[in-house]
Symmetry: C2
């Protein structure tokens, strides 16, 4: 979990001036306080009640929508869900949404990290306040569509001394997969170990840290010319929007900042963009080693920073799910974004794709697709709930309403200094 993202939820506003004690002396060995007992009693999920996690809702209670993911699709869905009729339980390894189109700008300081991350608790406040709604920092590890439950395990990302990985179940009335895709490595050796992706805030932080560390290290006396040039060689693999935007930001950074602030080494820094189509550098990446990559023609490209942005594919979790898949291996959905083989299960965003049987093309892995699917599904689920079909297996089979229709509004990529490339063609689907 990236620090800055967690921290977003902590930003504090102007404070009043009334007095309060520095601290409240407290014995860690005291028995449960009345307040704590009450809070715990309000929870319907106690392990002691026989269900190791959040048990099924009763008919008189709100129905529970379980959403897996806090990306464009899941966040937009949760924002619009009617919490008057639904409890919202979000299970995800990240407690915030990332405004991905601006992520590249944070790598060189044009934007601050917190400017591109929004805590889920701000998008849908119910998860931190409503008695039956939660954000759970965990990964879903499996699903049982017949029992209407999922298996989960807490995520601590190697943070020691916190909590041993904790497994629990969550029963759902409606389940929405919005768990996204994974960066593609095309099976090239060394990519995962040595390259940095650009999909999360912690990736951008790592790029920024590495870039500055290399700028400082290259100033150390006695380093060879080759080593200085290697340290300050930034290689970007992938000529899609992310790669182009990051290269543009980096170029800006070199022109505007490095020349002024790192003038000792300003002539050593360079950016190379490798794209298997355009080939700004001839060749296709064959192997990635700690300080150099090898092209298919045998050429070696030394680097100090390697950013990998060659698009996304289905994640191992998506591949493991027992549902029919769309072309490309995503969770197969019908035109109402339902997983048709089971009840009460939906999939939206990059993890989902129209089944071949729908006759529709799989939509591109774009924020605008995910965002509109989230919006559409929220209105569908709200409609179903108001019609009395919010709980598991209670949805009437009648009219499913209008299907989801995607209209592409064009694409845009910033290239630094207030310039952008725009593609206004209406069809993104080949």
């Amino acid at each position: 979990m990236a620090a800055s993202s967690l921290l977003r939820s902590l930003t504090r506003h102007a404070r009043g001036g009334s007095a309060h004690p520095i601290h409240k002396p407290w014995s860690p060995f005291s028995t449960t306080t009345a307040a704590a007992a009450a809070a715990s009693g309000a929870r319907r999920d106690e392990a002691s009640k026989g269900f190791p996690g959040l048990g099924p809702t009763a008919k008189g209670e709100k129905a529970r929508v379980v959403v897996l993911g806090t990306g464009w699709a899941g966040s937009r869905l949760m924002k619009d869900l009617d919490t008057g009729g639904y409890d919202v339980v979000c299970v995800a390894p990240r407690n915030h949404m990332v405004f991905t189109p601006l992520l590249a700008s944070t790598c060189v300081g044009t934007l601050e990290f917190r400017s591109v991350a929004e805590p889920l608790a701000r998008i849908q406040p119910a998860v931190s306040k409503s008695p039956g709604s939660y954000f759970l920092l965990a990964r879903c590890t499996g699903v049982d569509p017949d029992a209407h439950t999922i298996d989960c395990e807490t995520v601590t990302d190697g943070e020691k001394d916190t909590l041993e990985p904790w497994k629990f179940k969550v029963a759902y009335d409606k389940l929405v997969f919005a768990c996204g895709a994974e960066a593609s490595t095309f099976g090239i050796h060394g990519v995962t170990e040595h390259a940095i992706f650009l999909r999360e805030v912690h990736h951008a932080q790592e790029i920024r840290r590495r870039l500055l560390l290399n700028l400082m290290l290259s100033d150390v006396p006695g380093l060879s010319e080759e080593e200085k040039r290697r340290l300050l060689h930034c290689v970007v693999v992938g000529g899609g929007p992310t790669g182009v935007e990051f290269s543009g930001e980096l170029s800006d950074f070199i022109i505007r900042d490095v020349k002024q602030r790192y003038s000792h080494v300003k002539d050593y820094i360079h950016v190379t963009l490798i794209e298997s189509g355009v080939r700004l550098v001839q060749g296709i990446v064959k192997d990635v080693q700690p300080n150099k990559l090898i092209l298919d023609n045998g050429e070696e490209v030394p680097y100090g920073l390697l950013v990998w942005s060659t698009g996304v594919g289905a994640s191992p979790f998506v591949k493991s799910l027992p549902f029919p898949k769309s072309p490309g291996g995503r969770i197969g959905i019908d035109e109402w974004l339902r997983v048709p083989s089971v009840r009460d299960v939906y999939a939206i965003g990059d993890c989902s794709g129209f089944l071949e049987s729908t006759g529709k093309d799989v939509l591109p892995a774009l924020a605008q697709v995910a965002e509109r699917q989230g919006k559409y599904l929220a209105s569908q689920l709200n409609r179903v709930m108001k019609a009395g079909g919010g709980h598991a297996d209670s949805e009437a089979e009648a009219d499913p309403g209008p299907p989801f229709v995607y209209k592409h509004l064009g694409s845009m990529a910033t290239v630094g200094r207030y310039k952008a490339l725009v593609d206004l063609r209406q069809s993104k689907v080949r």
Copy 2:
């Protein structure tokens, strides 16, 4: 190296609107460009010239002041050094100064990390611009006062794929130790492994991350009451200004933020301050284990976050130096902040202390002592340089000028919500 601190040097301002290419195609295999060759030629430190690092300055060149450290003492010194007559070379594992009195406020989001860190390049711009001045991200590992050189090794803090640890020497005309002290653990087992100190920006980041992680994890269904209470028990060991300020901030955070934003678990969070003098919890810490600490009376105190702020002592590096020490093991100095056994060597801030032979007490490890020593020494060195004594072994033995005199102006500790404790007694020295 903490991310946010590195990042401070990257903050960008409003930018103009002129066009520029996205990137400059460049072959990593090209030979040295003319500009790079010129830059390299301007450097007097090439390994090829026989000295593995920055060699001695010549009489016609500026003299070189080497400063070890970027804390209160070193930063203030470098700020005031006359770069018309001196090259400034700073060797330190951290490229920024930390405004330590406000560090506690960053742990809970009252302040942003970047608000308490200032890059050295802003304090003394010569290190990033002047041809003979540098900031070198490295640790000093040894000193040869006769040869007027120090041994250094680059710091990469476990960042993989950057640069193998690189060793080099730096010759000095004047050498200033400003390398601070280390957090004291009193040899208590487990402190280094399980507690978090509060001296650097990355410590505050770790505290903030851990606090939020524990708040989220405590919301996971099925956790026992004891485990929830353990996760949200924040223990602070040490009742000095840092411990009190952090406890105050934490208390504010619980009262103002947790109650609103983590209302599910608000009754489980508590702060305990352990101080061997005041004993807000009875006992002295005997052992620290991953999830609990053991007091000397055998009592066990479970915790989710443990902050250790019991003061500082001499670092292993300072202990290893071949100079007479002050009481308490710091580098012994005379009343002009000189290390009297050798020429051209000084020590300021927490790493230094008056020798017993001066008849003066060792000054407390406070920012106001360090800051005033840095200011005093800069004026001394500037005066020496103007009198023609800037280079090694060239200082006239005549009048050393006025000695350093410390006047204590009082102490202050914030306790949250615009309140503070103030001690205006003029004598801090017992």
